[in-house]
């Protein structure tokens, strides 16, 4: 298998080195850059499969770098930032980043995210998934309506029958918020009464299966005080 090159960009050399060691342990080849301009240079001269990018950097900050990379290339970008506000995350993702990890990060989580982004990028690539009529998609989530199976970033996920029904219900209308009662009635087919607990338990289990960090879910979200939804990505 071809070597996969990952560019790590941060003005803090120790962080870059720590990430590099972890990536190399996972079997990736690592390039290092310490500001945005250097990163852009490297991308233009070398083959890079994924970038891990800090936001607050000298010369050219991470968001501007993301914009410049996106103008030319489609490779996955994971933003790594000490800014942890929701607004920062939304801003980073809207600039064209594929994922947003806050510092201080969990090494295992970062590795998992790298893996999933690479898998998506390398195996699915530019396949136009929308052309397949029996496939529901949101970001890296793909639900096949015929086989009733779910894939996350190309990796199949094993779900129970109830979980599958819930995921199918939510994925048919991504972004729509379903109250617990509606989910219960449509999945279980019974009148709902005091079902918040039941539904929540299932939601939590599904999350543990499809989310890299179930505490900060990317796809399956609780809308507090309203219901549940699968994010439309």
């Amino acid at each position: 298998m071809e070597k996969q090159w990952i560019l790590v960009v941060d003005d803090d050399r120790e962080i870059v080195n720590a990430i590099a060691i972890n990536l190399q342990n996972e079997g990736y080849e690592v390039l290092k850059a310490f500001d945005g301009l250097q990163a852009l240079d490297m991308i233009s001269t070398q083959k890079v499969h994924l970038i891990i990018l800090d936001v607050m950097m000298p010369k050219l900050d991470g968001l501007s770098t993301t914009l410049k990379i996106r103008a030319e290339k489609n490779l996955p970008i994971i933003i790594l930032s000490a800014k942890s506000e929701d607004t920062d995350k939304i801003l980073g993702l809207s600039m064209g980043a594929d994922d947003y990890v806050t510092k201080p990060f969990n090494t295992m989580e970062l590795m998992a995210r790298v893996k999933s982004q690479l898998r998506r990028y390398l195996t699915l690539g530019d396949v136009n998934v929308q052309a397949r009529p029996n496939l529901l998609q949101s970001g890296g989530l793909m639900f096949d309506l015929e086989s009733h199976t779910l894939e996350v970033d190309g990796e199949p996920v094993r779900l129970t029958a109830t979980e599958t029904k819930i995921v199918e219900l939510l994925m048919r209308s991504p972004g729509r918020i379903f109250p617990a009662e509606e989910i219960y009635e449509r999945v279980w087919g019974e009148t709902a009464y005091g079902v918040e607990n039941t539904v929540m338990v299932h939601i939590r289990r599904i999350r543990e299966k499809i989310e890299i960090n179930p505490k900060e879910p990317k796809y399956l979200k609780v809308v507090w005080g309203i219901g549940y939804k699968i994010e439309k990505i």
């Binding site: 803090d12 120790e14 962080i15 720590a18 990430i19 060691i21 972890n22 342990n25 607050m56 000490a82 800014k83 942890s84 506000e85 929701d86 607004t87 510092k103 201080p104 990060f105 969990n106 090494t107 109250p179 617990a180 005091g194 918040e196 607990n197 539904v199 929540m200 338990v201 939590r204 609780v222 809308v223 507090w224 005080g225 309203i226 219901g227």
Partner: protein
């Protein structure tokens, strides 16, 4: 030195203008009067430079002398002797310049300065005396004038005698016995024994001529200078206008009326001036002076009117009285001033009314009407001022509203004489002060936010390295057992530090109101159920009995669901941590007219030796031992988040009972 010359420049220019106009005016007035006096004979203007004997002045004087001679002998006045003496005295003053002979053979009267016997000559015999070739001759029938021995046609207009003849009042019917001869010497000489009017007139005419020429030229020169320096002159005009502007309109009117009357009088008077040098000159000078004075007065009035425009009329006695009153009023508080104004109006109106009636009774209708008019004007002024005050008060109120709504820049501009002016100024400075305070506060808020963000970043960056390398160490194999223990401790503590920093960051942002909110309509009941379901595992593991009482109907509030989840998560976590083992935890949600009230009650597993306030202070931990994980900020965050989410957070400690109440406004 420089400033002084600058200051005097306008005055110099103006002075030259003033002198030029005066000189030229006097020049023109005298010339015109002379022409008018000579019956339109322009030759009169050349008189000073022509041969004296050919001038109208010489002819006129001769005419006078002749009539002095003729009147007493020919017309036989009552005071004949006085007249005779006067004629004799007048003519003898001339000395040898004249030879005269007047006789009335019927009355036996004779005056003459001819020594010895003299027989009245026939008309054709002239000249009678050598060197006396100019003479007036009356032979009892006809007046004849001879110049250079030749008879002059005195009826001709250009002869210069036509205007003189009316003085020489000859009564031909009763003059058959009268003979008069007046001869004037060819070369006029000074009389050492008397004052020769012929001679002095001749001398002074020559001088006067040059004086006039000089005056005219000087006037022209000054005029040219004034025109060249018209800017400076205009500057002084403005100064004059401002001085005049200080006079009340009434004073100006009072002074202008007699001035106008004087001018009209003078203009008509000029026509009747008797032309008799040098007395006429003084007369003319005096009249011209008065005339010019009047003209200059109106010049200044016109300037005043042009420069000060409306102020010309506004600066009057009434207005000054009002202004004076306003100044007087300003020393009192506003409300007192307003009252006083009304009282004073009443007082003034009563006085005016009484006086008006009194004058009416006396019969002075004009004064009564004037006083009544003043009273009406006073009421008009008062009403206008009152209206203005009301309008300005309205503006003031509007402006307060504006400031309340956050406009910190628009200033309230009122006229300086408005009663609301001081209040408006005060309001403006309050507004400016508020503006500064708000700006300062915004700045400090921004600084605080920047500080929080930067500190958080600067703490997180090294912590990232610590966590990463601790993690690498933890995966290192073949380390001694105790080293793995140490690494485990490092991992735990760095994880705690991470939580602490995040909590601190959240709390700082929340308490400085710099947090982004996502407010929407949510169901508080559902949120509580969701949170309990979400925390189902730790709750079940805790061994505590949760007694939950939440209505099935939705309890709709407007809030930020994510933040509110954080509140409940913190409260429940707190409960799980600090509840007595096996005790019950009560969670209730009730709705009444005031809104929704959510409570959580638990029994503490330790003695709470602190007050409600103390526990909310940052870093105060319930057990005060600071041993377990967690930042100690849980309750503070819960409180801050509740408040920014639009709720009210209250905490009660009663013995071992710990109770938190959250209140929210419901929406229908």
């Amino acid at each position: 030195m420089d400033t002084k010359s600058k200051k005097s420049k306008p005055f110099t220019a103006w002075l030259s203008f003033f002198l030029a106009v005066n000189l030229l005016a006097v020049f023109l007035i005298t010339c015109l009067s002379a022409i008018a006096h000579s019956g339109g004979n322009l030759a009169v203007l050349q008189a000073p430079f022509a041969d004296y004997k050919s001038t109208i002045f010489f002819k006129e004087r001769s005419g006078h002398y002749f009539s002095y001679l003729y009147d007493p002998v020919g017309n036989l006045f009552a005071d004949q002797n006085a007249s005779l003496d006067y004629a004799r005295w007048c003519l003898n003053e001339e000395g040898s310049n004249v030879k005269y002979y007047a006789v009335n053979t019927a009355a036996g009267l004779e005056i003459t300065n001819i020594a010895g016997e003299f027989s009245f000559p026939e008309a054709e015999q002239a000249p009678v005396w050598q060197d006396y070739n100019y003479y007036w001759y009356f032979d009892g029938q006809k007046l004849q004038v001879f110049d250079h021995g030749q008879p002059v046609d005195i009826q001709r207009r250009d002869s210069g005698y036509r205007n003189i003849l009316p003085y020489v009042n000859i009564d031909t019917a009763n003059s058959a016995h009268t003979r008069v001869l007046l001869a004037v010497r060819d070369t006029l000489q000074e009389n050492p024994y008397g004052h020769s009017r012929y001679y002095s007139e001749k001398q002074s005419l020559a001088v006067i001529g040059w004086v006039y020429i000089g005056a005219g030229l000087l006037g022209l020169a000054l005029l040219v200078y004034a025109i060249m320096r018209r800017r400076d002159k205009r500057e002084f005009d403005r100064r004059l206008a401002s001085w005049a502007g200080r006079l009340w309109l009434e004073v100006k009117v009072l002074l202008s009326l007699p001035a106008a009357f004087l001018l009209l009088m003078l203009f008509s008077e000029f026509r009747t001036v008797h032309f008799d040098l040098p007395g006429t000159v003084i007369m003319l000078a005096a009249m011209s002076g008065l005339l010019l004075l009047g003209c200059w007065w109106f010049y200044v009035i016109c300037l005043d009117l042009l420069v000060n425009r409306g102020n010309f009329f506004r600066h009057n006695l009434f207005n000054s009285l009002f202004k004076w009153y306003q100044r007087y009023e300003s020393q009192y508080a506003w409300q007192k001033a307003m009252q006083q104004r009304a009282y004073l109006l009443l007082a003034a109106e009563s006085v005016l009314a009484v006086m008006s009636v009194l004058f009416l009774l006396i019969g002075n209708v004009l004064l009564a009407v004037l006083l009544a008019g003043a009273g009406i004007y006073l009421i008009y002024r008062y009403l206008r001022y009152y209206n203005q005050t009301i309008t300005d008060l309205g503006k003031l109120i509007d402006h307060i509203e504006l400031i309340k709504n956050g406009d910190m820049n628009t200033r309230l501009e009122l006229a300086a004489e408005s009663s609301m002016y001081p209040a408006a100024q005060n309001l403006n400075s309050i507004q400016a002060g508020m503006n500064i305070a708000v700006t300062e506060q915004l700045k400090s808020e921004r600084l605080k936010l920047d500080l929080i963000t930067n500190v958080s970043h600067d703490l997180k960056t090294p912590l990232t390295s610590i966590i990463s390398y601790v993690d690498l160490l933890a995966r290192e194999e073949g380390l001694p057992e105790q080293v793995n223990d140490y690494i485990q401790i490092l991992a735990q503590k760095s994880e705690r530090l991470k939580n602490l920093i995040q909590d601190l960051f959240d709390l700082s942002k929340a308490s400085s109101d710099n947090i982004a909110l996502d407010m929407e309509e949510i169901d508080l009941a559902r949120l509580l159920k969701q949170t309990l379901a979400d925390m189902g595992e730790p709750i079940n593991a805790s061994g505590l009995a949760f007694r939950v009482n939440i209505p099935d109907e939705p309890v709709n509030i407007v809030s930020d669901g994510k933040k509110l989840y954080r509140v409940w998560e913190n409260l429940i976590t707190n409960t799980l941590k600090y509840s007595l083992a096996g005790s019950r935890v009560f969670i209730d949600l009730t709705v009444d007219a005031q809104g929704a009230l959510a409570t959580i009650k638990n029994t503490a597993n330790y003695e709470m030796t602190f007050g409600e306030e103390e526990i909310l202070q940052r870093f105060v931990r319930g057990d005060q031992s600071r041993s377990s994980e967690g930042s100690g900020l849980g309750l503070s965050i819960a409180q801050s988040f509740t408040q920014i989410c639009g709720g009210h957070f209250a905490m009660k400690i009663d013995g071992d009972l710990f109770k938190v109440e959250l209140q929210f406004k419901t929406v229908s």
